[in-house]
Amino acid sequence: MTQQLTPAPADPGLAVRRMRRPVWAVVGERALETLIYLCGLSAIVFVLSIFFFVFKEAFPVLGHGKFSLREFLFSDQWYPTSEINKRYGVLAMIAGTCSVTALAMLLAVPFGLGAAIYVSEFCGPRLRETLKVVIELLAAIPSVVWGFVGLTVMSRLIVRYTGAPVGVNVLNGGVILALMSVPIIVSISEDALKAVPDSYREAGVALGATRWQLVWRVLLPAAKNGLLAAVLLGVGRAVGETMAVLMATGHAIHIPHSLLDSVRTLTANIAAELGEAPEGSDHYRVLFLTGVLLFTITFVVNLAADFFVRGLRRK
């Protein structure tokens, strides 16, 4: 391609020099480009192999007479180690995941969007850079540290101020997950707000709008797809989070009735029981099936988020 751009060499020396390029360099370059191509494909290979290997371990249980998919999804009876009456229903865990995620989003979405609006529209450039650095650091805190904070600091606070008998519950997990998913919501929403063309802002200001009116009437409607994507990515993060909820939500396998009930989420269930389930047992395979379920949920959520972001970019 580059050769077509250069005119035919008037000077024969140029042509000679091209011919003199050693064979190993040409072959080596071709090999390297093949390698680059293969690395480019690696992401697809990895995603497919994650699904393949997780599904492969889960698959044998599906053809099993004693196991029914309907019971798996719609029963809240989870007795994997019972001698006579084994039950594999994950409804209670689904309810746990949903309750914790919902509470986390209830807290994180307004605060995340508010912080994003402040960072992108209301503060000066210096403060903005500082806040962005803090958000980045907040996003970097390992989930096991968040879990530890939930287990120690947050649970003590909850016991003291609500009088709950145990401090590890939906409220605790929800607050911790909210703190964890705020950074991703802020940074994606800020990108979405930044992507709104400046001409929109100028038009608003020219009409005499205050910045608040500008945000409410112009920017939020214009950036709504990107903001939705930010919320979806926050949901994806909250659903998939493992260590923090494992440590902060307690381990009661039942459908929660209040904020102060302990629950167990899908992710925490795998983390808590995989170590005890013998390889190849039904229990082990059902845990992998839970993994397939989680993979599917996050896959759909991420696809939806990408769809909204793409819609934004096309505009």
């Binding site: 690395c39 992401a43 994650i50 605060f111 912080a115 540290v145 996050t298």
Partner: protein, 301 residues
């Protein structure tokens, strides 16, 4: 004239309401931003205060004694370093080359779109699903067993999107005119990438690599079932205590174990472990930010 000025500059009720709304909005949004930061500071401060009695160089270099109830965290610290560097050795080359493909070679077609979706999804797969994958693929199918290799490979795949995303951003920020200039003197595509694109993007690539390190150091779930163990006896002062096929301890796993599985630990020890892990991760991240700020200031285009 004076009446004109008077009407011109007297605040109408509407303007007053607008101004009040504006101030209120600014304060509310500012408070929301602050609500994100204040807990961070309080939590870090609280952890450091409770960890203080145990924090010392000796704590870092000592081995755990008496059933992990006392002593230090050296084996866990070294284990984390092993895992981080092995996973980096795998994911950095693959990730950087994948980003080169996506940014320099790929045309805007269906294949490229699928690769993009795959990268996004790889970043979104829950860490526990990565653990299941590592267990099924590396521990059982590839017969690496519960080992450092299995755990690092799992971590490598998990952190690949971090490197791909930031490398790609770095490559995309190199102006197209640089490449065109290079092509026009007769360089091939790869020669251009090697001598023009990569040197100009090295800061962004470095940032991505550093972020990968911080991410890999903090993860617990993927290594929990593939190679990290509660306890492994290590001699004090042993710099290379693990072989590739051994299991190892890791800081994140150690924190989880100490705080949930071991009764009667001296109170400050789990806090100190948390502070060391948090401090290491935040330091590494701060380094990435510093590299970025420094090189952005030096950028000439």
């Amino acid at each position: 004239m004076s009446t004109f000025l008077g009407t011109r500059f007297t605040e109408t009720p509407l303007a007053r309401r607008k101004r009040r709304q504006e101030t209120a909005a600014k304060w509310v949004f500012g408070a929301m931003a602050a609500a994100m930061i204040v807990p961070l500071l309080l939590i870090v401060g609280y952890l450091v205060r409770l960890a203080w009695p145990s924090l010392s160089l000796g704590f870092l270099l000592d081995v755990p004694v008496r059933g992990m109830k006392e002593g230090g965290i050296w084996p866990a610290f070294v284990g984390t370093i092993y895992l981080v560097f092995l996973s980096l050795a795998v994911s950095a080359p693959i990730g950087i080359l994948a980003a080169v493909y996506l940014n320099e070679y790929a045309k805007d077609n269906w294949l490229n779109r699928i690769i993009n979706l795959a990268v996004i999804n790889l970043a979104g797969v829950p860490s526990i699903v990565h653990a299941l994958f590592g267990l099924g693929a590396f521990v059982y199918a590839a017969r690496f067993g519960y080992s450092i290799i299995s755990a690092s490979l799992t971590l490598a795949i998990m952190t690949l999107p971090v490197i791909i995303a930031s490398t790609r951003e770095a490559l995309a920020s190199v102006p197209r005119s640089f490449r065109e200039a290079c092509w026009n003197v007769g360089a091939t595509r790869w020669q251009t990438i090697r001598s023009v694109v990569l040197p100009n993007a090295i800061s962004g690539i470095l940032t991505g690599v550093i972020l990968q390190v911080s991410r890999a150091a903090g993860e617990t779930a993927p290594i929990m079932f593939t190679g990290a163990v509660f306890f492994k006896a290590v001699q004090k002062g042993d710099l290379f205590p693990y072989g590739l096929h051994d299991q190892c301890m890791a800081l994140s796993m150690h924190l989880y174990t100490l705080s949930t599985q071991v009764p009667g630990v001296r109170e400050s020890i789990p806090y100190a472990t948390a502070v060391v892990l948090l401090g290491a991760v935040l330091l590494v991240n701060a380094a990435a930010i510093a590299v970025r700020v420094y090189l952005r200031a030096r950028k000439k285009w």
